[in-house]
Symmetry: C2
Subunit: 145 residues, 2 copies
DNA sequence: AAAATAGTCTATCATTTCTATATACATTAT
DNA sequence: ATAATGTATATAGAAATGATAGACTATTTT
């Protein structure tokens, strides 16, 4: 399961993505709109800012906005910042690899082998889907009604 | 990430799968072989037994063995018993569905839509991979060395 | 029948992770 | 200056996870 942190992060980015071009949006506004606890959102936005995805401005009239084109922010990037690994077992992780404690022979582990496949399938989607794609999906879904 | 519970469950099943046909194996033996805390493994095997995947026998000469053909035990089934949902968001789960608290319009949620795709991709692999397949993968991997 | 073996069941504890909140500080606009 | 707003760190509370304990039941062996 995704942590709430990650879900909130994606929601906030989508929300900001829809505003792309507009002046910065205040944390409190995003928190209210997306039903996210404000103080928690502060931390999350900070992480995303420090990772280069958001621009922030202090003081009156300040707030947050995207620091990249929504087309260039991929889910996999966000999830790695907020939740860490994509893989379901540490030994199958590309960016957060570490050995399973109980593992005897990683190279010939059938379980690992399956979860490498799962990772690849998941990664394919998450690394091809941008904030912009999510927004487009919503437009499409609304159109289908 | 998979819980240790699930990882242990799969390991135990694979271990028993390799013994298919042999007399029951004691918990303590599996625990030792697979480096799993014995008391924890007891609980896990009980769950698998109660779900119908294992046969057990008490008393001297007792132990556990598979109650099904290893070809007919799929990862997805085990994971649902030990970890619950496969999907990364509750609103995208087939067997453990529930609404996301903060969600306003599930039907037109772009995030959900992506994670339904992720779920389907994951499910395709997990529902096609059996204990027997894992054992075969190991044979293949050893052959490649 | 008694003793030894091995699973069953329930409770509980310890640790970690997650979620959320609090507080003090820094910067900017008016 | 003052008010608005983000920054940074600490901490608390809650939930989930991982692991252990102990008493009980069934089976086999002697």
């Amino acid at each position: 399961m995704l942590s709430k942190k990650t879900k909130y992060a994606i929601k906030a980015l989508v929300s900001l993505g829809k505003m792309a071009g507009n002046p910065p949006v205040q944390i409190s506004k995003i928190a209210e709109q997306e039903k996210i606890p404000k103080k928690f959102l502060e931390q999350i936005l900070l992480d995303l800012r420090n990772a280069g995805y958001l621009y922030s401005k202090k003081g009156a009239g300040g707030g947050y906005s995207l620091n990249k084109d929504p087309k260039d922010i991929y889910l996999v990037q966000i999830m790695r910042i907020t939740d860490g690994p994509i893989a379901m077992v540490p030994c199958a992780s590309l960016n957060f690899y570490h050995k399973c404690e109980e593992c005897k022979a990683e190279g010939t582990c059938g379980i690992r082998s399956v979860f490498v496949d799962v990772r690849d399938a998941t990664l394919k989607i998450l690394s091809e889907t941008s904030i912009s794609d999510i927004i487009n999906r919503e437009v499409d879904l609304i159109g289908e009604i």
